[in-house]
């Protein structure tokens, strides 16, 4: 019986078989601010879990609690079979973590960085050499004998990830690994994350504020907002939860009740949401619904600026759940677009508040 399974069986209430990540009602408070509230996670070994949310959603606080850097205010959790409150030393041996900012000593060379990291984790010299040989090509860490201070941002990030892997952890935490990277470096990191998961079987807990990153990489996504897990599922499940297609309409004025009622009454329309100058129509068959939607809007006094049909994105899911968009073109990722109080008109024509529970 492995040590991790023994650890897992010591606490009731948590999943007793998974060696991945399990939390129950995990919370962290900073004074009067509730950074994370009653978080329940169940992430099996080998999964890439995307933890998505805007700045301040509680993603990094959660990561820090799971990595033993921060003590939870309440609740419990197990990572790699170890209790995050009481088995911190054992837990640290089993995880690797790359925090939001690269954590490197610029005066060391890349090879020295990896070697010291190996020593800190008790690896022998031979084991360190072997791990450097294994990890470096996979992460494309070149120029190992140059000082880290001379590396580009992308190279530093890759070395940072390599340093987190040197001791062969079973779980890797990546806290916004591509923030601040150019698109090419970002694509490289994505490819590396996939390789790490497929080649080493490493469970990856990936926090991100980039919707496309969560969509492209994660087996499952948890959407965080204001410290709470709003929804969880595969990207496809989450997107399907708001309809097969989405028609977005940008209008010059705020939608009137008359307009939204006209749209919600159309056949094939699953739901209508509005915020500020945008109407979002969820429908089963967008191609069939777009003409009736356009005709219905033309009959109102709204000035239609743009109408588009697209498959739902995680941003649409976030909008559906919180009444806000997580980002929009031209804005920094992670920004939340605050707007007029969001509302939803369901297909029975009733208006409700924007925030919802799990779909």
């Amino acid at each position: 019986m492995s040590a991790s399974v023994v650890c897992a069986r010591e606490v009731e209430g948590l999943n007793q078989t998974t060696p991945g990540i399990v939390t129950r009602k995990l919370s962290r408070r900073f004074g009067s601010v509730e950074a994370v509230v009653d978080l329940d996670l169940n992430i099996p070994q080998g999964e890439i879990y995307g933890f998505l949310g805007p700045n301040g959603a509680g993603k990094s606080t959660t990561t820090q609690m799971l990595c033993t850097l921060l003590r939870p205010s309440s609740g419990e959790g197990r990572v790699a079979g170890c209790d995050i409150n009481t088995e911190t030393a054992k837990l640290r041996l089993r995880i690797g973590a790359t925090l939001q900012d690269t954590a490197l000593d610029e005066k060391l060379t890349g090879r020295e960085t990896l070697t010291y990291q190996g020593r800190f984790y008790g690896l022998s010299r031979a084991a360190i050499r072997r791990r450097i040989e294994e990890v470096s090509p996979i992460l494309e860490v070149s120029a190992l004998d140059r000082r880290v201070g001379t590396y580009s941002g992308g190279m530093k990030r890759r070395l940072d990830v390599a340093a987190s892997l040197i001791h062969n952890p079973s779980i890797l935490f990546l806290d916004e690994p591509t923030t601040g990277l150019d698109p090419m470096s970002r694509a490289e990191v994505w490819a590396q994350v996939r390789r790490l998961n497929s080649t080493f079987g490493v469970t990856i807990f990936l926090t991100t504020q980039y919707l496309e990153e969560a969509d492209a990489l994660a087996d499952r996504v948890g959407i965080m907002d204001e410290g709470r897990l709003r929804a969880e599922g595969t990207p496809e499940e989450l997107k399907r939860s708001i309809g097969s297609d989405v028609i977005s309409v940008k209008v010059g004025d705020r939608p009137t009740a008359q307009a939204t009622e006209a749209l919600s009454g159309l056949a094939g329309v699953a739901g209508v949401e509005f915020r500020g100058g945008e109407v979002t129509v969820a429908c089963v068959d967008g191609a069939a619904a777009i003409s009736p939607v356009a005709v219905a809007l033309a009959a109102t006094d709204l000035q239609v600026m743009e109408i588009s049909l697209h498959k739902p994105t995680l941003d649409d899911v976030f909008l559906h759940l919180t009444g806000r968009r997580i980002q929009q073109e031209g804005m920094e990722a992670g920004s939340v677009v605050e707007d007029a109080p969001a509302g939803t008109i369901t297909d029975d024509g009733q208006t409700s508040a924007g925030a919802h529970g799990h779909p």
């Binding site: 033993t68 911190t88 041996l93 490197l104 010291y116 800190f120 008790g122 690896l123 072997r130 062969n168």
Partner: protein, 265 residues
């Protein structure tokens, strides 16, 4: 894939407290040659002031204290000036600001080893800087009646004092994570080293300075060190050690308390 399967045998394991200290100190010592910009002034400035002080005050001091070997008298001041306030604290601040400190906290390293490892590197620096300063003194005519053993004890006392004083800059580094605050910790050096019989024997001092010097632990350290040029004096050595360890107790308590706070989850 076979290579990766092989790596499954490689697992992290705790290596024990002393190996943790060794790992952290190894990194700190390796970085020393890359921090020469910080170390060179620490060597040059005390030697310069030693030479200037001898040149300016040697004759006057002879008038005040008959038969005083002023070159030997000033040697402990030069040594203490070299090591007091010098530490790897600025490097620690860079680790904190650059995030590397948090990588260390994420590792299974013993928390105390994070600081003790740096202290080991500090001892290497203190001995490395004390030897050339002492050699300069010998070169200009300083002699030890206690011989090589006396010179060795003087070097070790210098290193021990330097080590005990490092608690102050480390405490500031760990509390603030601010390089300016750490640099300003140098100000502590002035009252410690100069409100003492640094320039003249205590008997020649008067007024408030004499009173303050009596209570300054560095006075007893300087006086104990000076006996090594003349003869072995067990009581003076005990007072010196007590003064060094007394300051060390306070400063290192502050430093380790700050470390606990910084590492607290």
């Amino acid at each position: 894939m076979s290579d990766h399967r092989d790596s499954e045998e490689i697992r992290a394991r705790p290596i024990g407290f002393w190996r943790d200290v060794q790992s952290v100190s190894s990194r700190a010592v390796r970085l020393l040659p890359r921090d020469l910009a910080m170390l060179l002034p620490a060597l040059v400035v005390p030697v310069f002031f030693y030479a200037v002080t001898i040149g300016a005050l040697q004759v006057l001091a002879a008038d005040v204290a008959d038969g005083l070997d002023y070159k030997a008298f000033q040697m402990p001041v030069a040594l203490l000036t070299t090591v007091t306030g010098l530490s790897r604290a600025p490097s620690l601040v860079m680790d904190i600001q650059g995030g590397y400190f948090y990588r260390l906290l994420l590792s299974p390293l013993n928390r105390w080893a994070l600081l003790l490892g740096m202290l080991v590197a500090d001892v290497v620096v203190f001995i490395g800087l004390s030897v050339p300063v002492l050699a300069f003194g010998v070169g200009v005519g300083v002699r030890f009646s206690t011989g090589f053993a006396g010179a060795l004890v003087l070097t070790l006392l210098t290193a021990l004092w330097g080590l005990m004083f490092t608690g102050f800059p480390y405490a500031i580094a760990l509390r603030t994570g601010n390089p300016t605050a750490v640099n300003n910790s140098f100000l502590l050096f002035f009252p410690f080293v100069f409100l003492t019989p640094a320039w003249l024997p205590r008997e020649a001092m008067t007024g408030w300075l004499s009173a303050v010097a009596t209570w300054n632990p560095v006075t007893h350290i300087l006086e104990g060190m000076r006996t090594l040029f003349v003869d072995w004096d067990g009581l003076a050595m005990l007072k010196t050690l007590a003064a060094i360890l007394g300051v060390g107790l306070v400063s290192q308590a502050l430093a380790f308390s700050a470390l606990s706070k910084r590492a607290r989850r």
